[in-house]
Amino acid sequence: MKYVDEFRDRELAANLAANIQGEAEPSRHYRFMEFCGGHTHAIARYGVADLLPQNVQMIHGPGCPVCVLPVGRVDMAIRLALECKVMLCTYGDVMRVPASDGLSLIRAKALGADIRIVYSPLDALRLAIDNPQREVVFLAIGFETTTPPSALAIRQAAQQSLQNFSVLCCHVLTPPAIMHILDAADVPEEGGVTIDGFVGPAHVSVVIGSLPYERFAAVHRKPVVIAGFEPLDVMQAILMLVRQVNEGRAEIENEFTRAVSRSGNTLAQTVTAEIFDLRVSFEWRGLGEVGASALRIRSAYETFDAERRFDLTYRPVPDHKQCECGAILRGVKKPTDCKLFGTICTPENPMGSCMVSSEGSCAAHYSYGRFRDIPVVAI
């Protein structure tokens, strides 16, 4: 397929692997975090780790939108569907995220809740127009990539004065999360982990541009290379990170020039800013409360805010005691360090969020990389 096959070429991959091998200094250990679940997925699906030398290690970051969604937020959505009897619309990935009381959206659906999988918030808007007698709520999750479509849906609902449509906004922001990880990394005694550089998000950066990352390089002296989601993109970014580390540079570089500019998609940024403003704080699964890291619907659009419309309150829910998702999301632990991994926590029965989506580091490792390190027997 044009524009895809070129970025999965075996020969080019072998060349890049040889370059990484040749340029990585044997005496040095390189630890890079790929922030985005899309990269985690690509690394696992294409077996990119096999092509890297032993001393170049990838740490899977918290950039999987469903993985960082705290249980309390899914509980809110389930309450809306089961108790308030709304028609709840959301993206397919969210369906299996474990919530309280052994529930998830898919299990709530089996209990009779009206829950629909949509591919765009505009589909939810359409459902609201087609079902004027029903309250329709869109559970909006994701990073800067999925935020502009949610903003557009709200703007259109306002223009049409829709009375039965609202959004449960759980949109989060990438730069504060990276900042949070870097702040923790500076205090190793608090569970921080040394990271030598970041593979920067692909689709998120298409929207926000490369500008917001410039602070990390300046303040934390960490290199960031923005990369596309294809395996060759990731490998090229790793090579660029190795070079920056070797040369003692900490710069923002852009491997994904075919889609990412310095200023990003200003049209998308404008509609986002028109509809949303910053929350003071938001709980991230695995990271805990992170200040100014998420969006809420501006009061001018409050009738479209499901939290206000249905007077919902957020109740935080602690994770399973032995679940290591938190440490895994911060890059402190690997999936195989978790006692639950592959035993009681599997993609069929996820205990923690990292096992839910194929972008989550546990699910990616379970489904694509199990053969390397665990003696589990397939079912």
Binding site: R8, R10, G92, I141, S358, E359, S367, A378
Partner: protein, 352 residues
């Protein structure tokens, strides 16, 4: 003098009529539906016996194979087929995958109140033509009607009976380390064709379902090599190629090593999967088969498959390995390795 009246003064309104509860009550209207829709389309000597079951000739010295399948699909009509031909081909394939020759089919219909008779007629005609094309008659059947809301238009259960001579059995537990894994053609066509019509996902596509009866392909394969050379046959339907191979690995207590670049995928299917964040390895097929065969018979089998219209794109996609973990693994296109795991839940598009 009275002239005898015809049984039904008015024929069914096959243009605008709909199924109602009376069609399932077992009375005159039920009989009319059976005669004017089902019997007329499926007509054969066994069905004409008119009993609740069919009296069939038995063949001495042969083993019987029986398979049953329930068919539910939304939408009922999709590019390249409909629930009717799917219900015939799917069950014929289950019989054929045991290397048997399918002889007879039965069909049971669960109709939802309100179903358009024109849709039912279209589905039944499609079944009749698929059965006719395959040369396997539908010899008995049943119809029930459920209230609106209790069904999804129509559900069809079909059962197939076939025969098989004595000899080594073909089955999921017979894969051996060293065997070649053959695939009869491109994967993902059916699943993507159906997905293209789903509510909120409609996209224009030229992809058509690959629904087809595979028993003639199987017969050509069996004729091409010595008895016992074909160890496993299976059609990778729901769950896709990945799930089918994992089922076989589990049953046979072996592993597999596949080559990603050898697996044929139509560019349109690949593009749709890219767009939706789906993995074609997990997308359903309805007219493809996987054959696990003795390595020295692989070349002859591939030649026989390629000579058949349903196996033109046949290829060897990997080999069976010894592996107590029973992992299906794959050399990826970029040169890494990964596990090809079981499908977990329904394939869900990724949002990022």
């Amino acid at each position: 003098m009275n002239t005898p009246k015809r049984h039904y003064a008015r024929p069914l309104d096959l243009k605008h009529g709909r199924i109602d509860m009376n069609h399932g009550a077992g009375g005159r209207l039920s009989m009319q539906l059976i005669e004017e829709v089902f019997v007329r389309a499926f007509d054969n000597e066994f069905l004409r016996q008119g009993n609740d079951g069919a009296l069939l000739p038995a063949t001495a010295g042969q083993r019987l194979v029986m398979a049953t399948d329930a068919h539910v699909i939304s939408p009922l009509f999709f590019p390249g087929g409909d629930i009717g031909c799917l219900a015939v081909n799917g069950t014929l394939n289950d019989v054929a995958m045991l290397a048997a020759t399918p002889l007879y089919l039965s069909a049971s219909f669960i109709l939802e109140e309100g179903l358009l008779l024109s849709d039912l007629k279209r589905i039944v005609d499609s079944m009749a033509s698929a059965a006719n094309y395959a040369g396997v008659p539908i010899v008995t059947g049943d119809t029930k009607v459920v209230e609106k809301g209790s069904g999804d238009g129509v559900f069809i259960c079909t059962t197939g009976v076939g025969v098989l001579s004595d000899g080594p059995s073909v089955g999921g537990a017979s894969a051996r380390p060293g065997d070649a894994v053959l695939l009869s053609g491109t994967i993902g066509d059916h699943g993507i064709a159906v997905l293209s019509l789903r509510e909120s996902l409609e996209f224009d596509t030229t992809i058509e379902s690959d629904t087809a009866a595979l028993h003639t392909l199987v017969a050509a394969m069996l004729a091409a090599v010595a008895s016992g050379a074909i160890h496993v046959l299976r059609d990778p339907t729901r769950g896709g190629l990945a799930t089918t191979l994992n089922e076989i690995a589990r049953q046979s207590d072996v592993g597999m090593m596949l080559h990603e670049s050898a697996i044929p995928i139509l560019p349109q299917v690949e593009a749709a999967c890219e767009l939706l964040g789906l993995d074609p390895l997990y997308i359903a097929n309805e007219g493809k088969l996987v054959a696990i065969v003795a390595r020295d018979a692989a070349a002859a089998l591939l030649e026989a498959m390629k000579a058949h219209p349903l196996g033109k794109a046949a290829t060897c996609i990997g080999y069976v390995t010894e592996d107590s973990n029973r992992f299906v693994q794959m050399n990826t296109s970029v040169g890494g390795q990964r596990v090809v795991d079981w499908l977990s839940g329904e394939p869900m598009p990724r949002i990022c």
